[in-house]
Symmetry: C2
Subunit: 136 residues, 2 copies
């Protein structure tokens, strides 16, 4: 997702423009991988010495609700990244070292739906973890 697109979503939805919000988006744009709330707090603390947890989490949740960020749970901690932008449903390899991802185009649900007659399927999670070539 592009930064401008994200800022447009905020404006269209009636949220205010703030420099912190732009910095948060810039952070995720340059990081290009899954990052935690505390990663973001460390980054913003350089510029805004007294930044509040409330600001961090409120904006992370807002951006997630607006589909600007996507999230996953890794090792008991929520991680965030800019939404992919692809519009077809897909999954990810995630590098445990740098947090960067590689798309997995095929979805395993297609192969197994037939085995769940009588079940209500709400969602699913398929993620592959390891090390990317540059971290190896």
């Amino acid at each position: 997702m592009q930064l401008e697109q994200a800022l447009t979503i905020l404006k269209d939805e009636g949220y205010k423009y703030t420099e912190k919000r732009e910095d948060i988006l810039n952070f995720f744009n340059k990081e290009d991988g899954y990052r935690t709330a505390s990663d973001l707090l460390n980054y913003l603390s350089k510029k805004y010495s007294g930044i509040s947890y409330d600001t961090i989490y409120r904006n992370l949740h807002l951006f997630h609700d607006l589909n600007i960020l996507e999230t996953t749970e890794l090792g008991g901690e929520k991680h965030f990244r800019l939404s992919c932008g692809h519009d077809e449903h897909h999954h990810h390899f995630i590098c445990k070292s740098c947090g960067k991802t590689k798309a997995i185009e095929s979805c395993p649900m297609n192969h197994i739906r037939q085995n769940f007659d009588g079940y209500y399927i709400e969602n699913h999670k398929f993620e592959v973890y390891g090390l990317c070539p540059s971290c190896l």
Copy 2:
């Protein structure tokens, strides 16, 4: 996994037999689904009024290390269940209401390994969430 098998593992590995340990195994045996540390604490508190968190978590981790329990993270909280016993690698549908599972025999990794030349793949997670027929 059978209770007797679990108790044998404990004995063979040199761990002591305690009534609490047997009660923990009985709990997971009768529950037949993913349960949290706090589910277990509530259950054991009926019989052992002052049971310690240390006892709960120490035994959960021990049983997991001995492959008596398997674990997954649901909604930011670790859940435990008796190990399946199947020896072929597989995945699970998990009912969000009762925690019971249904095996998924096929593993999506088989189809996509070829796309990860140059990557080190450490592990993967594939879980399907929803409601089982009896919870519907």
